[in-house]
Symmetry: C3
Subunit: 386 residues, 3 copies
């Protein structure tokens, strides 16, 4: 059980409340310029979540994701290695792959336009009609690649040339959640939400339960708002947990566990739901009996998709009689998500007002202040002060 | 009857025709920059029409309106006073109220996100979990307010810090139309039109009947184009009247009055329809038997909503047998409006041409030249000359 | 048969392959600024295709077209002359004509707003209520006109003040295709495609058959890719032909001719399909038995309409039993077009990537390099180099 977990601090009690800490100015949620900076300095530099390894189980399987203007192909090659290739032909710039998921049956990636053909590591195999010369040579025309790292079944990518080691960016994460053996879990359900708000509002919403009493009556009944505790954190991976009051309960419509505890989960973890924001685009929520997570894809300063996944043990997924519990977990979070989207979208609209002059954070929102600081640091912006 | 009315001048006869006066350059209808200036220097400075007092008759009733990026809550408080509050929570900037109309049942405005609660004058009553400190104190977190002024049942607001007195901006209006007792009238019908044109094109369209012969055959039959007379005017409130030729007629599908004369209307006013543009966003059209008005809301340089209302005496609205007349007035103006929208939208498109080199106004369009001058003055732009 | 045709060069064989020639940078397909330059320096300067003369056969018939922000009226006047008038009233800038096609029954063009009336050559005939003065006079208020030139039933316009002579811009075209007597042909069918790509991608797609083997299996069967030959060309009119292998075949679903040879077509031309891009907006494809052409209208850097027309001899159009053949030609090109649109739209998306670093052209894409050079010359841009 003691898999590298550290002690936690009681929210609004042990944790230092920052007196006078204020929100970001409204332009951080609306400006096209700041959004472009975020793509360049955060989404193109940090390790970001891409997909689950289980989504591309076989050789040739791929998934495409969007990062700003870049489309990436996450593909499993013949040596079972996962490669992350820029989805753009070296010849005329055609997007190679227009589908979100599939399998390169031929074990090669062929451009639909002029049939230039790459192997699954991005090497240019064939360029019909092209003559090798001093200027053109196939070896110089491989698909650009991004870095890749797998952690507990989650595939992360980095578009940086020389990214910080995964373990440094994700230090606060390493060693946690080993008991869940998340690499063994499988996606039981997926919902895509299309939202009219800035990506940061979703992280902020996730990192405080100050709003829970009013926005989430059912959630507040299952996990008391006052029970929130927070991890020590370094960098932008932040999190903590809340207590599940009901014995062997979980976050479901009736508060009962949706399934038996996941793998080796035991002890205190049987009565806790963890909330970790894996900056910048993954929100990871391990429960005793399942794992829920969000994958955030910014599509502009005021638009995102939020893909929500429910992971269960494969035995549970196979067991027909267990589906009532699975559905109850899905329904609970779908309800809770929609409650959150409503207030996030209203905050998006409201912060356009020139009369919004940066509010003060409560003690229960200290993590938001940390998120803001990390953002400003990453962008190289001066702190707007308090 | 002589309620401050002044003498009028015959259009195209008494009124000085400005020889060589030319239209605005086309960019005034298309430029994002000029639009932003208009919001800042006109819609955020002038008194602008917001809603009818009758739309919020009871304590807690509210209506929200949009002024550029600002959403405003017009709300009636316990002391029966009307307040105009910026629709943005002082905490994190959430829009407090997403509905267009409603009632704050609790007699308080509560943010849906973290339950910060304001009274109906905007005072912050409760901010859960917040600790008063040197930096944060509730008294500094009231909702920002805009100025409000009620005239004849019409509620006007000003977002300026120190607005010009209402009576100065609206001098040309004061004392007029007292016989209609408009505060006593009620909305019989409302139509929202969504139009692809600049807000100024609607004012221009309203302030000349040069187009009537071709565009409005029925209107021209009821009120001869040559009968148009104009008020002396100071500032941007401009207007005049046209003669209704039929004895006890009105602007309806068959030209017959839609209802008995409104309140104390008598004498010459029984055969006149008045047209006043209450700059910048209200077009007021008192008839002997009803009042029609337009509320213009700009949503960008090329997009507006135009809310058209028909006011009748409450006795008429209650009387079932009177509804044929009411409907005839509605149908007449709906027909006439749509004829206008067509040409306004064609002018919007046409003025994009680089070959449009500013045309010359006719004598019958002198008011448009005055409107242009008021605009340029308000924006602090140099006159583009003739 | 020898109607000014010159000798051709075998593609990828006789034609000089430019070693190391590279594609344009991706911004040429996405930048709003470059698009605005293209409208100004190409579409507002060059002769561009407008419509077929047969579309406005009678006095008063008109068609409107869009060129950037300008709408143009192509109208046939009483002396049977075709005039090209800017579709904007000299008075207030209203678009005169909102329809795409029609007939000015009154033999005059009347503004729908204030009834200013122009004759079919654009002369202002009547401006009601306007008083002639030193400043305003009707003779100065004619509709601006663009230049017009008819070639083989195709009407071209130029918005330039002093355009290059048509014969200079179109030198490579003059004397070609006389055997088809295209002025005598008639539109048998028309399809409008709305595409999300830059206008130049359609020209590039049209000017190489390197993509045919993979993208167009049926086309490649009818006309071998290796048979492509190219004309000497000066300026931006570029083209060549491919061999139809089947005796008396054509580009149809079954490869059989859709109709008898057009007019005087004979000899080698009975086994050829020609492809000429009449820069910047007409793609002309004469077959032995019919003529297909595309009219490209850019609506922004990433949006076009592409109007595809099939011209047949009037005898064929009248003959009911011939419609099977006509339909086969339509179906063939509709299929082929849609195959092209797919890859063009994928190239549009892909070239947004910052990792697309300008690819190398193959020998079979030499014409694209010429098109790129013509573009850079027309825009006055420096060559980005190889």
């Amino acid at each position: 059980m003691e898999t590298g977990k550290k002690k936690f601090l009681k929210r609004g009690v042990d944790y230092p409340i920052v007196d006078g800490a204020r929100t970001l100015p409204g332009k951080y949620y609306h400006s096209e310029e700041i959004y472009a900076e975020e793509i360049e300095k955060i989404f193109n530099k940090f390790w970001i979540y891409a997909c689950r390894a289980e989504e591309i189980p076989n050789v040739g399987d791929y998934k495409t994701i969007q990062v700003g203007d870049e489309s990436l192909i996450i593909v499993r090659d013949k040596s079972n290695q996962i490669n992350v290739l820029f989805n753009v032909c070296s010849h005329r710039g055609t997007q190679l792959c227009a589908e979100e998921k599939g399998n390169f049956n031929t074990k090669a990636i062929q451009c639909p336009y002029h049939a230039w053909t790459y192997d699954l590591s991005g090497k240019l195999l064939a360029a019909p009609q092209m003559q090798e010369s001093e200027k053109f040579s196939k070896v110089n025309c491989s698909l650009p690649k991004a870095h890749v790292h797998e952690w507990e079944g989650f595939i992360f990518v980095s578009l940086a040339e020389n990214p910080e080691p995964f373990e440094v960016q994700m230090e606060a994460l390493i060693g946690k959640f080993a008991d869940w053996k998340m690499a063994d879990l499988r996606i039981a359900h997926h919902i895509r939400y299309e939202l009219n708000c800035n990506w940061k509002l979703i992280l902020q919403n996730y990192q405080e339960c100050y709003h829970c009493l009013g926005v989430h009556p059912l959630l507040s009944e299952l996990t008391p708002v006052q029970s929130a505790q927070h991890d020590f954190s370094k960098g932008a991976v932040l999190g903590g947990f809340m207590d599940i009051t009901k014995e062997r309960g979980s976050m479901t419509m009736d508060g009962e566990a949706a399934a038996p505890p996941v793998c080796d989960v035991s002890g205190d973890d049987l009565q806790r739901v963890y909330y970790y924001s894996i900056y910048p685009n993954l929100l990871l929520t391990p429960h005793p009996d399942f794992v829920m997570f969000h994958h955030i894809t910014p599509l502009g300063p005021e638009k995102i998709t939020n893909d929500c996944y429910w992971l269960f043990h494969p035995d549970v997924i196979k067991d027909k009689s267990a589906q009532v519990g699975v559905k109850s977990a899905i329904d609970f979070w779908d309800l809770t998500n929609k409650q959150d989207w409503q207030v996030c979208e209203q905050m998006q609209v409201g912060t356009k007002s020139k009369r919004f002059t940066r509010g003060y954070y409560s003690g229960r929102e200290e993590i938001l202040h940390i998120l803001d600081q990390e953002l400003l640091k990453a962008l190289g912006h001066e702190d707007p002060g308090s």
